[in-house]
């Protein structure tokens, strides 16, 4: 005990050690390895050699830029949808949930008890051209016979939004729930009507939650391939589908690896721009 007390910084490192070790072994090492893979040339038949072929990056970018922009667009659209659905949901649970708060929160994460893949597959069944959702509407003549949801960008974006909704809702809930009720009373006391209270107090104070929620949704959404695979068609393939295909179908490892890094770079740049835009001041509490 006394040794730890005399060496507080050592204690900190000991506590950090498992995490650092884990990240080294399971994140940093594979990342470095993958970077080397991207610089290979060859094929599964002839074998690979590390040739330092950086040219693969502009090549891959040129070839798949369409998929990359589409992924960013789908991911962005899905993030906006989750925000529009998740914010009122989180707001309701935080301010009107009362004693049902924990039940409602449980319901938000309840879908996680089923596998991601299974949920998306059941969407495929429910929204099939003559399935549970569209069939009766078509029979009733409310929708034209040619109408379809599956194999459209709408289905992919909606699927992503559905699957990532809890990642948006929970951070928003945490941020909203933390707002002391007397701040809203103070705003009311200072002549703010309902909309102004929301605009001037609730929303600015929820901003850290908006930031966290949108990153937690956007980052995995851009790299997602399951939704595009199951709910989309060849014209709505995302960068994740390409990477998956490069690795598992055509064994073009270098291109798959290079695309992974391009995706990573694109996301990092996007997030930095976003942080600028939303105003990191709100997040750090700094003064300007």
């Amino acid at each position: 005990m006394s040794w730890f007390r005399r060496h507080p910084s050592a204690t900190a490192y000991i506590l950090l050690a498992p995490g650092i070790l884990y990240l080294l072994v399971f994140y940093l090492y594979p990342t470095a390895q993958m970077f080397l893979v991207s610089l290979w040339t060859g094929s599964p038949e002839t074998g690979y050699a590390l040739t330092g072929n950086f040219g693969i990056y502009p090549e891959a970018l040129a070839q798949y830029s369409e998929h990359l922009t589409r992924s960013i667009f789908y991911g962005g659209a899905a993030t906006i949808v989750t925000f529009l659905v998740g914010f009122p949901l989180a707001y309701f649970i935080a301010f009107r949930g009362g004693r049902y708060k924990s039940v409602l929160l449980f319901l938000v994460i309840a879908p996680f008890f089923t596998s991601f893949l299974l949920r998306t597959l059941s969407w495929k069944i429910i929204f099939a051209d003559n399935g549970l959702a569209l069939g009766p509407l078509k029979d009733a003549g409310l929708l034209p016979d040619t109408f379809r949801l599956l194999a459209t960008p709408t289905a992919v974006i909606a699927g992503i939004a559905y699957n990532f909704l809890p990642f948006m809702t929970l951070p928003l809930y945490v941020a909203l729930e933390k707002i002391p009720p007397n701040l809203l009373e103070a705003a009311q006391d200072l002549y703010a009507d309902g909309w102004q209270r929301f605009r001037r107090v609730t929303l600015p104070l929820a901003l850290p939650g908006v930031f966290a929620g949108s990153l937690l949704t956007f980052i995995p959404a851009v790299g997602d391939f399951i939704n595009a695979e199951l709910l989309g068609d060849p014209r709505s393939q995302m960068i994740g589908n390409v990477i998956q295909a490069r690795f598992l179908r055509v064994s073009d490892y270098p291109t798959g690896a290079a695309l992974s890094f391009i995706l990573m770079a694109a996301i990092i740049i996007g997030v930095l721009l976003y942080a600028r835009l939303v105003g990191t001041e709100e997040l750090t509490g700094g003064t300007t």
């Binding site: 007397n182 701040l183 009311q188 200072l190 002549y191 009507d193 600015p204 509490g285 003064t287």
Partner: protein, 371 residues
Amino acid sequence: MTAIDVRLLEVTKSFGNGILAVDRVSLDVRDGEFFSLLGPSGCGKTTTLRMIGGFEEPTSGRIELQGQDVTWLPPYKRNVNTVFQNYALFPHLSIFENVAFGLRRKKVASDQVRQRVGEMLELVELRGFEQRRPGQISGGQAQRVALARALINRPAVLLLDEPLGALDLKLRKQMQLELKRIQQEVGITFIYVTHDQDEAMTMSDRICVMHGGRYEQLGPPQELYERPQTRFVASFLGISNLMAASSDGVSDGYAVARLRDGTEVRLPRPMVDGSHDLELGVRPEKIRLHPAAGGAETADNLLHGHVRDVSYTGVSTQYLIDLSGGGAMTVYEQNSARADGRLIHRPGEEVAVAWSPDDTFVVRSDAATAA
């Protein structure tokens, strides 16, 4: 006659679970006065304040603000502002924007805003703090910002909900004086909620003592202290020695009462309302101790007993006297007389306890349990 700023008529608030938080409270707050709602926690004082502010709706009754019925108006349509418990400053806004919040909502021109915020920060001595955030200032400073943020709107009435509750004792004392100064400077009616009797006594023009959702007594601090009307007020504001007695006619212009052991005690006639059973009270500092041998004036009420306990507190000496007729009395003696040779009475010593009939008061049982 002074104008009435706030009038409560038979205001009652019960919460869903059948708890009666405020029970038929009627009172008038005069224009420009420092008015305190005083009572222990759960007495309904904060609920009363919140109803005046518009944050709670009364179950029944009526609230008037400068003659206008505001019972059902939302807070932002009332000409009152509140200083909240724990300040409730907006953490995402600068001190300047916190203070300017109300003016911005009222769409006051921005050069006007700048000027008035400047004046306000001057008043609360926080010039130079404009660009700080609430997280970067001390509790006392946050308190001043909260005050400035409310006062800048020039409300008819300022409501303060235990505003000094989170400050340490020294800062509290300092802020009490400052609040009083600011109130006199701006001339706005203050309604102040507190559970601290000293605080209420030092600052208020009038105090309303509340207990169990009812109001017990309303008056200037001196009147509440010298003439408490209920047992609760007598013991919540300072310490009282209470004695059960029965009324026994009139003598020499005083009403006469007999204690349980038959001792005669005299008191001012207006104190007696004709009922037979009385509860008498006298404040500890009104009592003088004499050696058992004598020395008391014959006009005084006189009881006998012996000293059980003595504690010397510097300013005064506090005695606990066991009375020979049963019961005990607390007595405070100022230590100013020590120099001329009077001694501190010692435990076990026989003493005579004397006080003037004029210092005797009569209390009712608590309003909450009676009526």
